[in-house]
């Protein structure tokens, strides 16, 4: 028993030694706290942007996120970041009420804060220097108008992150721009679950001719698969927020209509660059930076596919 335990401890210590960076270099350190789980393909692109900016700017970066969409846990992660007194802090703000105290604490501690992805409406009020992201209502409206133009009348809005206000806003913008009847379908972020639920929704209401998914890898691809299962490919137009390699292939083959690219790589990359330059030279852009939307239709799809598979778009 004893040797078994010693072995375990030794194994743990070895793992630690193997993964720990060779030397924790001192100097500029920028911490990024988001609500995006590491296994979500969308957020892995953001994380790649963060890492690349860290390399390009030669600063230390740390990407942190709670394991589930948990605002209480996220505020605690921000507190933890503030305690380490970084040269800059990047946060996403999906729930301003729950996160404001922690963000204001960071500002009070004299840490420059940039918000990204969600929270453009409250960013300035909480003391962030600027926001890098996409206006969700406007992007939803543009997508809705485009889908209406393509002939859509009855729509389905597939929400895989119930509880996130930004996603509610996307559905709201879609409803406004689309003009027709829109039903919101809440799902989990499990592809099998989404596929089954979308299939059921299509069977329940045969008049549905348009689906807007709120995430490509999470909700978009299973929605395309569900439409295929129902034998309605082409008859039901599927569009999605964000992009994934699989969904882009579906656009290229005509199974899906388009993807709304908010270019989230920039949301990870730019704030780190801004904060690194701020630490070095005191530079900071004068206003919010819109990272999207950019509608990726059949013509643009192929050129984006390669980069999407690499986790850059």
């Amino acid at each position: 028993m004893k040797s078994y335990l010693t072995g375990l401890v030794a194994a743990a210590a070895l793992t630690v030694a193997a993964i720990a960076p060779a030397a924790a270099q001192q100097g500029s350190r920028i911490i990024v706290v988001t609500h995006g789980q590491a296994n979500d393909p969308f957020w892995s692109v953001v994380k790649n942007g963060v890492s690349e900016a860290g390399k390009d700017m030669n600063v230390q970066v740390d990407y942190r996120a709670p394991e589930t969409f948990d605002m209480v846990a996220m505020s605690q992660l921000i507190d933890a970041a503030v305690n380490q007194n970084p040269a800059g802090l990047v946060v996403s703000i999906p729930d301003a009420s729950a996160l404001s105290a922690s963000i204001q604490k960071a500002v009070a501690a004299g840490i420059p804060v940039i918000s990204m992805n969600s929270g453009s409406d409250v960013s300035k009020k909480l003391g962030a220097m600027l926001h890098v992201g996409q206006d969700e209502v406007e992007a939803g409206r543009i997508a809705g108008a485009k889908l209406k133009e393509m002939g859509g009348k009855v729509g389905l809005c597939v929400n895989q992150e119930v509880g996130n206000v930004s996603l509610d806003l996307r559905c709201q913008g879609f409803t406004e721009g689309f003009g027709g009847k829109v039903t919101v379908l809440p799902v989990t972020n499990d592809p099998t679950d989404i596929r089954a639920k979308v299939k059921a929704a299509l069977a329940a209401d045969s008049s549905v001719d348009t689906i807007l998914a709120l995430g490509a890898g999470t909700a978009g691809e299973p929605s395309v698969a569900a439409v295929k299962d129902a034998g309605k490919t082409g008859a039901v137009r599927v569009a999605t927020f964000d992009m994934s390699a699989g969904f882009l292939k579906s656009i290229a083959t005509g199974e899906a209509a388009f993807a709304i690219d908010q270019q989230q790589f920039l949301q990870g990359y730019l704030p780190v660059v801004f904060l690194a330059l701020n630490a070095k030279y005191g530079l900071m852009p004068g206003g919010n930076v819109p990272s999207g939307p950019n509608l990726i239709t059949k013509e643009k799809a192929n050129q984006v596919i390669e980069l999407s598979a690499k986790g850059i778009r």
Binding site: M1, L5, L8, V9, A12, T15, V16, I19, A20, P21, A24, A38, K47, D62, Y63, R64, A65, E67, T68, F69, D70, M71, V72, A73, S75, Q76, L77, D79, A80, A81, V82, N83, Q84, N85, D95, A96, S97, A98, S100, A101, A108, A109, G110, N159, V162, G163, N164, V165, D168, V184, P186
Partner: protein, 380 residues
Amino acid sequence: MVHTTQPATDLSPAPAARKIQDERLKEVSLLTKIMRRPELGALAGLILVTIFFLSTADPSMFTLAGVMNILSPAAQLGILAIAAALLMIGGEFDLSIGSMVAFTGLVFGAFLTLTGWPLLLAIAGTFVVAAILGGLNGQIVIRTRLPSFIVTLAFLFILRGLSLVGLKWATGGSTQMRGIDAQGESEIVRELFSGSALEGLFAWLAANDLIAKFPNGTPTVTGVPVSILWFIGFALVATWILLRTRAGNWIFASGGDANAARNSGVPVDRVKTGLFMLTACAAALVAILTVLDAGSTDARRGFQKEFEAIIAAVIGGCLLTGGYGSAIGAFFGAIIFGMVSIGLTYTRFDSDWFQVFLGAMLLLAVLFNNFIRRKVTGER
């Protein structure tokens, strides 16, 4: 057990020396007594985890602000874990507590914003709703004799779903209820359930340079969050009940052998129903604390907290089969969990490894705990 019949000739009163030979009456040293407590392993696990972070994490993790930062998630989880531990000692599970946090959070938010009830009434109303749901859980388990695992799993989904339905109904379509504000409410009630305690003391300490300050002069820690005080208080009360009261004996008896307990006159059904109501009310307390703290609630609150609470209780020495465990063990278990989940952000490890680490650290803590317990109890 083997009963040896006494020879008929030996009816004379037993000499004093005989009594001591009965192993149940054997005097054990204080040290052995301490070593036999179920929570010892959890304490040892906590020390192990602390050593790990002392050697790998940024030193700011163990500053005052860092420790408060670790204790906040530990407190929220711990309130649930202590209640879950009592229920597990009583021989049942409650998988619905995570969903109960979301649902009672919604109920509380609705009472405050929709009906405009004063804070005290809203809090009382939320506890009543939670107690009714907990009682319902318990009654279904007792009357149908189905495993509590299944019954409460059903409620895990029902309550999570009801939270979503209720939120959309209450907010007119959003999955998040914002702007829940208790300002202007009764001072004492608000102080009890939100913000920080001992703010004056911390301001004084900061003014005298005894604790760290931000550049603008406010202390890095403005007080002890009330959730931490609830956590400590609940752990003490639960331990006292378990070890010093009749109700505590009933809980151990109900979980150890329900039939034997019933035959000795323990109201097993009442004990179990009460425990289900307790876990539901603990979930309601966490919901009230977090909703007042965050000013909002959403459909994902308390997600997977039921598993974390059971893990913390098991780290704290509870047996999955019931009849054995401790509240103070769950207290340490929750702190281990909080330390691991927040502590990793103070290290330089890539966050992709987070869950691997969390799982490995917990496994290590439980194995170590188990090892220590076997060593000291001589269990095979």
